[in-house]
C-alpha cells in the first residue's frame, strides 16, 4: 500500500497545473480518489464528517443491482437455450448470458464515462460518480438484441443532453438511464419492442448456435397480453409451455435484460432499504399506486390488460425494477418526505395506466417515471409552499395581536 501511495505521489505532479498531462487532471484525480480516500481536511465548519460519500452511495446501489444483473445474464442464456430447444447446464446458460450482456455494459461505460471525463476536465471539477450507476442501469433495461452502436449513441445523447447540459450529477431533471431508453424507444421503436428483440435466437460470438423450436414465440408476457383478443390470456414461455406466477416471480420470462426477476430485484431492494440509500416511502408508494390502479381497472375488466391482477402487474415487465431502482433516484425524484409519497404513488398509477391504455406499447413504467421526474419539483413546490404559508400565517397573526 505504501508502495502504491509512493507511485501515485511520484506521478501526481505531472497531472497538476503546468504538468505534462495537466489535461488529464480530472481523470487522474478520479483514479487517485478511487484508490485512496482524499486526505483533505475540513477548512471551515464541522471538524469531523460522516464517512459516507458519493462513492460509497453509488457503490451501494451497484451492489444492489448485482442480483438482478446476474440473474438477467443467466436468464438471457436460459431463454436462448429454451428457444433453440437445447438442454445445457446452468453454467452454460450463464456463460452465454455474460457473453451477450458484457459488451453492452462495456459500451455504456466507455461512452458515458468518456464523456463524463471530458466534461469534468473542461469544468475543472472532480469526476462525479453518478454515471457508475447510470452506466450499469442502461444495459440492464435494454432488450438483448439492441445493437451496441445504438446503446453507444443513446448513452452519449443521454449523458450530454439528459445530464451535462443541466450541470452534471445532481442537476439533471430526468433519470439518465431512462433518457437513454426513451431515446431509443422513439428513435428506433422496432428495436425496443415487439417479439423479436427480447430473446437472442442466434449465437453469440460463435457460442450457442442452433435452430429455433417449433412454436417459438419471442413475445414478452406483456406483449402477449397487449395483443390478446380474448379477455383470458394463457401466457406462454418462448417454447410454448404455459407460465405461471412462480416463473414470473423468479423471472424466467423474456423481457429487458435485468428486469424480469422480481426475486432478484427484491434482493436489491433489501440492500437499498437496509443501507438506507433509497427511500422506502417512494418504493412502497409506487407499489401502492400500481396496486390501486390495477384494482380500478379490474372493476371494468373489459380486456386482457384490464383484467390483470395487481400481483401480475407487479410481477410483469419493468414495474418492480422501475419502482426499486429508477423511481428512487434521489436527484430526479421528489425530495420532500411528503412529496415522496405522492411522487411514488403517481408513478405506480401512471405506470399501470399507460400500460393498460396505451395501444402501441405494452409497458408504461419508463414513461410514467419520466413524466413524474418532470412533476417532482412541482410536487415539492407545493409541499414547501405549505411550510411557507404556515410561517406567513404566524407572522400575520402576531402582527395583528401586537
Amino acid at each position: 500500500m505504501n508502495f502504491l501511495r509512493k507511485q501515485v505521489d511520484k506521478i501526481k505532479p505531472h497531472f497538476e497545473e503546468g504538468g505534462k498531462f495537466a489535461k488529464l487532471h480530472s481523470v487522474f484525480d478520479g483514479f487517485e480518489t478511487f484508490l485512496f480516500v482524499p486526505n483533505q481536511t475540513a477548512k471551515s465548519g464541522t471538524h469531523i464528517h460522516d464517512c459516507i460519500d458519493a462513492k460509497r452511495t453509488m457503490i451501494t446501489v451497484l451492489v444492489a443491482l448485482m442480483p438482478a444483473l446476474l440473474f438477467g445474464m443467466f436468464n438471457i442464456g436460459y431463454q436462448h437455450y429454451l428457444a433453440i430447444g437445447q438442454t445445457v447446464t446452468f453454467w452454460d446458460q450463464l456463460f452465454f448470458g455474460v457473453l451477450a450482456v458484457l459488451p453492452k455494459i462495456v459500451v455504456s461505460y466507455i461512452v458515458g464515462l468518456g464523456i463524463e471525463f471530458v466534461f469534468a476536465q473542461i469544468k475543472k471539477e472532480e469526476i462525479q460518480e453518478g454515471f457508475l450507476v447510470s452506466g450499469m442501469l442502461i444495459p440492464m433495461i435494454m432488450p438483448i438484441e439492441t445493437p451496441l452502436w445504438m446503446i453507444g449513441l443513446a448513452t452519449a445523447f443521454a449523458v450530454v443532453f439528459g445530464k451535462e447540459v443541466f450541470g452534471g450529477t445532481g442537476f439533471n431533471i430526468f433519470n439518465v438511464a431512462l433518457v437513454t431508453r426513451a431515446f431509443l424507444f422513439f428513435a428506433y421503436p422496432s428495436w425496443m419492442s415487439g417479439d423479436e428483440v427480447f430473446v437472442r435466437t442466434t449465437d453469440t460470438f460463435g457460442f450457442g448456435g442452433g435452430t429455433l423450436v417449433d412454436g417459438y414465440s419471442g413475445a414478452t408476457p406483456l406483449g402477449e397480453i397487449a395483443t390478446a383478443t380474448t379477455q383470458q390470456v394463457h401466457l406462454t414461455a418462448v417454447n410454448g409451455d404455459p407460465i405461471g406466477l412462480w416463473e414470473m416471480f423468479v423471472g424466467l420470462i423474456p423481457g429487458s435484460i435485468a428486469e424480469t426477476s422480481v426475486l432478484a430485484i427484491l434482493l436489491g431492494a433489501a440492500v437499498l432499504l437496509f443501507t438506507g440509500v433509497a427511500s422506502w416511502k417512494i418504493m412502497l408508494s409506487v407499489f401502492a399506486g400500481g396496486t390501486a390502479m390495477a384494482l380500478l381497472f379490474n372493476v371494468f375488466g373489459v380486456n386482457a390488460a384490464m383484467s390483470l391482477t395487481p400481483l401480475e402487474h407487479i410481477l410483469l415487465g419493468g414495474f418492480a425494477f422501475g419502482a426499486v431502482f429508477m423511481a428512487t433516484d434521489p436527484v430526479t425524484g421528489a425530495r420532500t418526505e411528503k412529496g415522496k409519497w405522492i411522487y411514488g404513488f403517481l408513478i405506480g398509477v401512471f405506470g399501470i395506466l399507460i400500460r393498460v391504455l396505451n395501444p402501441g406499447y405494452p409497458e408504461g413504467m419508463m414513461l410514467a417515471i419520466l413524466l413524474m421526474n418532470m412533476f417532482a419539483p412541482l410536487i415539492d413546490y407545493f409541499v414547501v409552499e405549505g411550510n411557507i404559508k404556515r410561517r406567513m400565517k404566524r407572522v400575520k397573526s402576531t402582527v395583528i395581536k401586537a
Binding site: V37, N39, A42, G45, I48, C51
Partner: protein, 452 residues
Amino acid sequence: MMAKRIQTKKGLDIAIEGKPKLNTVELPIPDIIKIIPDHYPIIPKLSVRVGDKLEAGSAVLFDKNNPDILVTSPVSGEVLAINRGERRKILDITIAVDKTISYKSFDSIDWKKATADNIKTALLESGMWTYIKQRPYDCVANPALTPKAIFISTYDSAPLAPSYEYIVKEEAVAFQKGVDIIAKLTAGKVYLGVKANSDCNIFTEAKNVEVVRLDGPHPVGNPSVMIQQLEPMNKGNIMWTISLQAVLFIGRFATTGSVNFTKKVALSGPEVRMPQYYQTIVGAGIEDMIKDNVFDEKHLRYISGNVLTGTKIALDGCVAAADNQVTVIAEGDEVHEMIGWGMPRFNKFSVSRSYFSWLLRNKITPKFDARIMGGKRAIIMSGEYDNVFPFDIFPEYLIKAMITKDIDRMEVLGIYEVIPEDFALCEFVCTSKLEIQKIAQEAIDYMRQEME
C-alpha cells in the same frame, strides 16, 4: 408549576472518546495574554496603542458600528504588541500581564433599583455587552433595542460539551445575580434551557426566569430550538441569547464591581491524555493545558469549542472568549486510506448504515479525524438534513436559497429562525460534503448587509 418541556426527536448524538472528567486544574494567570478581535462579534477598532498601561476592565477595542460596545482587558498590564495580518486586519493585541492584577473600579450602582438604561450603560462600559447576542443575524446585541425575550441555554448538547452544571457549581450567587440583571433588559420573559434530567438546583430553581426542560438529541441545547418552540422568530422580532459563561461574567461584575473574566474550560477529545477542566482566563493560551497532555505523535487539530461548530486554533492560540471548551482531534492529513469507500469501516461513524459500524455502535467508539472523507459534490441525497434538523423548516430548500443569496426566498423559508450552528449536523451528515455553516454564515452576513 411544572416546568415547560421541549422534546425533539430529530438530531444526532455523536459519541466521541475524551469526555472531560469533572475535575478542575487551576492554571496560574500567564505572563502574556492575547485579545483576539475575531473572537468577538464586532468590527474591531483599537482603543489602545503599544506601550499603554491597562487595568483589568480597561477598554481595548470598540465596535466600529457602535462605539459604546467595548471589549475590555481581562488583566492589568502593558500592551506589548498589536499584530496585524493582511490588509492590516488586527490579529491580536498582546498584553504583558502585571504580577498583581489591578482592577478598574466602575461606578457602583444599586442593581435592584437600576433601570434598563443604567444596566446597559454598566454592561457596555465593563465590556460585558459583547457577550450578548441578538437574533436575527446572531450578531452583537444592539443596546438601543429591547428584545422580545431572552434565551439562556445551560445545556450544551454538542459532542464532548462541557457540563454547565459543573461550571456553575460554586457560583450560584453570581449566576442568580446575572440572571436578575438580564431579566431587566426585556419586557418579555427570560427562558432558561435546562437539561431534561438536570438536578442542578441553581438552574432548576432559578428566579426571574422561566425554566425549560430540554429533552432530545443534539442540537436540542441550541438556543434556536427554544426560540422556535417558545417564541418563534418572525421578521422584525428581536431576541437575545446569552451564554451561561456570560451570565456568570455579568453576575460577578454586579457582585464585586470589577470585571472577572476567569472561566472553566473543558479540555476534551480523543487525543487528550487527561481530559478535564482547567480554570483559566479569557485570552490565555492553550499551551499550558496541552503540554504533555496530548498524543502528539501524529498531526493534531486544536479546536476552540466543539467538533461541530468550533474554530480551529493554533497550539499557541487561545480559547475564544465565549467558549468553555477545547477539543483536540487528529488532523488526519497524513492518512491515506486505501479504497475506503469499499471497506466495512467498523471504526468509522456513519448515520447512513451503508457502512457496518452502526451494528457495533455500542461496542466500538468510532475514531474521528478532521478529514472530510470524500469529494465535494452537488446535493444528491434527499432527506439527509431533515433527520438531524429539529426545526419546522425545509433545510435543503433554505440552503439552496442561501447559496443563491435569494433574500426573499430565505425569509419565507425561515432564515430568521436559525443560525449557522444549527446546520452543523446537516454539514456533518452531508454525503456531498457541502460547507453548510459557511454557506449559512455568508448568507446571513449578506442579508444583514442588505437589510440594515
